[in-house]
Point group: C2
Chain length 198, copies 2
Amino acid sequence: MASPEIEALTQALARLPGLGPRSARRAVLHLLKKRETALDPLLRALGAVSERLENCATCGNVDTTNPCAICADPRRDDRALCVVEEVADLWALERSRLFPGRFHVLGGRLSALEGVRPEDLRIDSLVARIAAGGIDEVVLAMNATLEGQTTAHYIAERIDRFPIRLTQLAHGLPVGGELDYLDEGTLAQALRARRPLG
Amino acid sequence: MASPEIEALTQALARLPGLGPRSARRAVLHLLKKRETALDPLLRALGAVSERLENCATCGNVDTTNPCAICADPRRDDRALCVVEEVADLWALERSRLFPGRFHVLGGRLSALEGVRPEDLRIDSLVARIAAGGIDEVVLAMNATLEGQTTAHYIAERIDRFPIRLTQLAHGLPVGGELDYLDEGTLAQALRARRPLG
């Protein structure tokens, strides 16, 4: 019914995470109706990003500059390095604004099932960054999944010859978590890692 | 944290219906990671639509051609005309593939609250299309809302001098509707419009 161009746009949008065919159609209708305030700004924003998109050669972040804004920021603490699986994890930590140091994005996690081996991740460049010196602490901020923790252990082994403090994110109750609704794995972690009060 | 270009793209996406700030961020990450398979195709699709977007001068549909694909299709039945509030309604009816005729998009509905008057809608051009002759039936496919039905009644008055069959969509139980969960308005409509069985 719709023209091939509109069909193609609907399909391109429907492939985004969080959008299905139905919501993509609604989004397209919105874009068609609001050409000046929705379609053209989105087109310009996409074009600007596409034109300048780069992978940061230092940390593996995606940005419109290389090195990325974080690696280029002189106010960040060079002595602390936080290792994450994906760019999404880096962004999540940045939103919390709690980590003042630098990042290193692995680009995934070790997975026997999906055939992801150490050489498929940015582990060699991580080791090289640490070997270059100047880093006091490495925070392993892998996901609290089997594969994330396997990756953390593998990296810990690879870098245990360096004189650095190696830490990982705490596991336990999420804020607002109610015991009754939490899985047993989380409860077990929270109990094992219990701390003296006050 | 992200560059201004990435921030602008996130905000442009977050303004689409069905996407909030969080899902827009996920979508942007997806686009950044899949440049060849997601970002560039979306950019091309948006560009193609933006370049060729037109409002059909005949029916008010949006398409990449003028007249639109429906108005230009010689296989459609010129004698039946379906009047809808919005382009979204036209698309919804087209997906059902049940209406073989032409469409007319009003561009909204009469609303005292929102200050939408008859001259704000494409009613004059509807009357002109009917006055030009060749149309046997006009289906008023307004929404089953107070404003939709007010609009339908207004249009019915404006065109009752023409020798046409004037119909409207049936109101009643939706497919799969359970009496226990339906509102009283729908039940009342379904009861009033009850039909002999078999």
